[in-house]
Symmetry: C2
Subunit: 143 residues, 2 copies
DNA sequence: TATAGTGTGTATATACCATATTTACAGTGT
DNA sequence: ACACTGTAAATATGGTATATACACACTATA
């Protein structure tokens, strides 16, 4: 068992980024992006700290180097991280705030779609609110 | 101006299925599927009635015949419609109920994702509920 | 009552783009 | 020189969309 520098706790789970899976919905690079945004946004990967190298993360997640690069490129374009050739990849100063903002925007987008589907299914506003409350309670129990 | 048999009102808008666009998110065939589920689920395309032919819908939506076929195939697999070679395509008896059920399932899926993104963005349950209420009010105004 | 015609849905071969991989290249520090 | 970093190019695969040709069902009509 080898602990990598980006780990913050001696968790039996080796990687903070995953789960990553070809079976999961969405492309692999998107799953990596979402995972890193979560870790950065929730403060487990702090601004200035180094992310795992392309090769290290690729090997850990059993994924191609290019797939990691694709994910890091997108994150760099969003200003959340920045890559320096020969040095490594690091969390940007505004990375946490940008990650949370991205999550907020994504949440609004998904919520709009969910509400549209709900109304088209014949659900009333009261029923929708009720469903949201129930789901939030379930999420609580998971923590 | 030509009215087709599947139109229910002399709407200046010719087609009930659209809007369809390469620019819109999601593949074209999925947009067709969603549109037909909506029309069937909300009762504007009733069980037993004929849907537009592959060629007619393809021409109307300025899309390939194969794209329409792909959409109809998926809808048939879900039991919402049934295609009869040489005859046409028709809404199934349980089409409306199945469409609404599909919308409900899709809504739950999207809602789960939206709530997860919201919590990961740092939003509290109260803030999430508030956002849902605001969005529902906006949807009301559109009607 | 044959049968040609015109409408249905069906199947095959093709083009294109996003995704993911391998392999080789270039920069930075020790 | 070496061992690490990120970068770039060529390739393979799968999903999406297209055009073209094929098979079935009704119907008008000779």
């Amino acid at each position: 068992m080898v602990y990598t520098h980006y780990m913050l706790s001696p968790d039996p789970q080796r990687f903070v980024i995953p789960p990553i899976s070809s079976a999961a919905p969405g492309p692999l690079y998107q799953q990596i992006i979402d995972g890193i945004k979560r870790e950065v946004g929730e403060g487990r990967l702090r601004p200035g700290t180094a992310l795992p190298s392309f090769r290290a993360l690729a090997e850990d997640l059993m994924v191609s180097l290019i797939t990691v690069k694709r994910a890091y490129e997108d994150l760099e374009r969003e200003g959340i991280i920045h890559c320096k050739q020969g040095l490594g990849t690091f969390v940007s100063e505004k990375g946490a705030e940008l990650s949370r903002q991205a999550k907020r925007d994504q949440a609004r987008l998904l919520l709009r779609q969910a509400l549209r589907e709900s109304t088209e299914s014949g659900a009333t506003n009261a029923e929708i609110i009720k469903m949201v409350r129930e789901m939030l309670e379930q999420h609580q129990e998971e923590d």
